[in-house]
Symmetry: C3
């Protein structure tokens, strides 16, 4: 049993006892699952995106999760105001740059958020985080060919973590968590997770839940990502042969049953 | 068998035969469950929130449900226009002041709605309705310490019902329905309901369904709240040991199977 | 085995191999189910509705699905910009005029979209498509009594298909697909489908998935509609006696399990 596994299991127990309030400014596609995933893992979700109240809601929350899945000008402004409040109060900001790289608008928004906000944890897939890596390279005047050399996800995670001085979580077949120095690889999960919309968004929100429970942010990123990976495995065992609808429901079932003991048993975490 | 139980059971039978159209201006977190809960209980849902059509949609509906879960300036204006149309046409307005007390914006919006609109039924948890109680007290120039004396939910429900001349439903471990004079306590429900997002929103919509079926509004409030309570009990019996995802689905299953006979058997209603 | 059945089955196999990206500008009530239905049938969904990026997202997609279920001024503008981009690039546009006929705003929006956009496939229920039929009649200066003569769904489908030079799919107890000349009747489906919100929206999105996979658009319309019909039948067999929540989930299960062989066996398609 390695240290990161023990710490992650302990942090889940802590999360369930603290029931942190997690403020989400997120997309309308997966928002219901995000709220139910947060409830299932033991947090309390609140969604609020109007600029007249977002900073007030952030101020009473333990973590802020922003997700640009269905971004629009109205909510981008709300995200930035909320993030600045979170930064001022020392509340962790978890950023999911959904679809970064897919449109100029998403790219510009991602750039603007990273310029104006101190992000605590960045969670995305390799394509999204690679876009951020390239962006960072570019904004530093480095030739984009250097970004191309970030030819594996560990290198991308470390680069972005160093450049942004944050924790980076790249989810994929093997998930990578890095703060620029430390690297943890998570081998949990199931490829079927990609057939349910919102498993990425839920993972980001789970990272927010762990972050809001007082866990150190590196462990929080590991905890959120590992929770979804384990839930995906259990859901596949229970409902994998039935279909995607049953599997979807079984993910929430598994998250609601997950505790520190199961985390200890099932987490496959390797620290380099 | 008491009278309120008989009336509530009869009103569910009536609802299923009438299939009332219920217009919802609600939040994007739980809107899918709200629509499915309305279909399950025998109503027909319509969601429309653009000010260019909301009053037209209200005019063809049998009840209007407004919910400020993810309020924003655009939809608040739509809510007020729709409510005024409902008031003018004698269509019941059911108001769910989600999160009232949590931000100045929610507080101001709640205040504005109550100022401009005649609400037929107010449905919230103790915290939300207590905020409204305090607001009423304040707007009447009464010291807020008087609001503090509303130290139990029956007193809060009666006070707000009298002040607003409406029906008030406070949901909790025991649900309270009052019109300021009459008080019905509902002992159905299951604490697990609080682990699924939107059970409150669905309850409010169910109250709208009963209200739109021609039931007197007091019985409608009892019917909507009791329906969710009974559905929660049945869902827990069916799926309580599996997890929150299965329990969530079983709530909709139970609502779709609920009829007058089951209401007679399972409703735990006490009129003071 | 008739030709349309063979072609439809082959097109599903093709769809699963191509994984087309389908851009949806749709309503917030059923958007999660729309995304999961697209994933289940083998497509890749993307939702984007801000005018700063919608045309860019359309340009990288294989089909565009627009749905006015919760229309508002902001997203209508995005729909039109995206549709024009799709028209310019030869990307199919699938239009679901949800609630056309129910409010002046929906009517005007439907009219405006049909005026500015070349729609590839129109999918609606009889009421919605009849509204479009009447609109066409009216805009051609024909007496509305002539529209009344469109007294069955085949006539309505053919009329609208001819007038708009597109494929029309009218879903109901028997579904009708027509391009103005050809007519296919689909006898799959289950009446319980109308008790789950979003089965219409999902059907429209499935038509988008088939359209984006390179299938001829007539077969694509048949394929999308038949897929939902068959999924509804299978879902009823699996979960019909349990309740609407389980039935809802079983629809997605069935879509995820559907393949060309099952389509061959279960599709009930008759070409006149």
């Amino acid at each position: 049993m390695n240290t990161i596994t023990k710490n992650t299991a302990a942090s889940l127990t802590e999360l369930r006892s603290k029931v942190p309030l997690v403020h989400n400014i997120t997309n309308y596609v997966t928002v219901n699952d995000v709220a139910n995933a947060l409830l299932a893992i033991g947090a309390s979700p609140i969604m609020a995106d109007d600029i007249n109240e977002t900073a007030d809601i952030t101020a009473i929350s333990s973590a802020l999760v922003i997700n640009i899945g269905t971004l629009n000008e109205r909510t981008i402004a709300s995200m930035i105001v909320s993030c600045k409040k979170a930064n001022a109060l020392g509340i962790p900001v978890i950023f999911d740059p959904v679809g970064a790289g897919a449109s100029k608008f998403r790219n510009d928004t991602t750039k603007e958020i990273l310029k104006q906000v101190k992000v605590t944890i960045l969670r995305g897939n390799l394509s999204e985080v690679s876009f951020v890596a390239g962006l960072e390279v570019t904004t530093k005047g480095v030739d984009s060919s250097e970004a191309d050399e970030c030819n594996d996800n560990v290198a991308v995670a470390k680069t972005v973590a160093k450049n942004l001085n944050c924790i980076v979580a790249i989810t994929g077949a093997v998930d990578i968590i890095s703060d620029g120095e430390r690297v943890v690889k998570i081998s949990n999960g199931h490829k079927r997770l990609s057939k349910v919309t919102g498993t990425g968004c839920m993972t980001t929100a789970l990272v927010g839940a762990f972050s809001g429970a007082g866990t150190d942010y590196f462990t929080a990123a590991v905890g959120g990502v590992a929770s979804m990976g384990i839930a995906g495995e259990i859901a596949f065992e229970k409902a994998g042969n039935i279909g995607i609808g049953s599997f979807h429901m079984a993910i929430i079932d598994a998250l609601s049953n997950l505790d520190g003991e199961m985390m200890l048993k099932r987490a496959k975490l390797d620290e380099e």
